[in-house]
């Protein structure tokens, strides 16, 4: 299976982070049951984006021979 390029992974991570951070915003202003759900989704997106970033960096380092 061919993995996407590091640039594509990072672009996806950036987009997921932006969405994740925006989803965290409402809960900072008021506690509502529905916004707790947004917070959980935002946390998930941020975790996934961090994972994507780590994968992209590790691939670049391997390609460069540093790992």
């Amino acid at each position: 299976m061919r993995l996407p390029s590091s640039d594509a992974l990072i672009r996806a991570a950036v987009l997921l982070t932006v969405m994740g951070l925006l989803l965290l915003l409402p809960i900072l202003f008021a506690i509502r049951a529905g916004w707790v759900g947004l917070f959980m989704l935002g946390s998930l997106l941020l975790t996934v984006s961090m994972g994507l970033y780590v994968v992209a960096v590790v691939r670049e380092l391997r390609r460069g021979g540093a790992l």
Partner: protein, 223 residues
Amino acid sequence: MRAWTVLAMAAPEPPHGATLGGTLEVLALFAMGVALVGLVLVEFVLKSRMARSTYRWTLLLGLFILPGVALLGTTGHMFESMKEVESCQSCHVMEPFVVDMHDPRSATLAARHYRSGAIPTKQCYACHTGYGIFGTVEAKRDGFRHWLLYVTDTWKEPLTYKGTYPNANCLACHATSPTFTVVESHGALRQQLANDEMNCFTCHGLPHPARPTRAPTRVTINP
């Protein structure tokens, strides 16, 4: 009810200085703002003009460190805010309980504690958190279960307390108070109270309105 009591209840004193929740909120907002602006600029505007290493280091900040700070700050702020009565009341399921607590004519334990000012803030949290080492964790677990039941619309009316209310939660405040120790029957029943063989509510009345007297809280079509 005397006028000054009503006035005191109507205008609760705001917290002095910075609160943990407020500080975490500011921290999270700052990290979010910097991360959002920085990421958009770096990825969509400055990427072609930056050295590859600078780009990677900037992304480490924008994709890892700042979102991590924002997530921790938001989580901490949320956990702190969840202790407020308003957050419990935000689910309309809890409305009859909070309304009763604020009712100056109510005789329930929650209302009496509120009127006396014995628990000035975070009244729900004060009584519904275990005072053992895992009390807060158990409260969060129960809170998550309540949230799931609420958002999936699967709670059952009338609401019932899961398990038995531990006397330790009452005794955490009352056990050493003179008004408690002066009562002879408390001393005589010490062992039963400590072992939850006898409940405080048996003599002191219900903490919240009895189930038949509560108005239905469900507004959806499910019975």
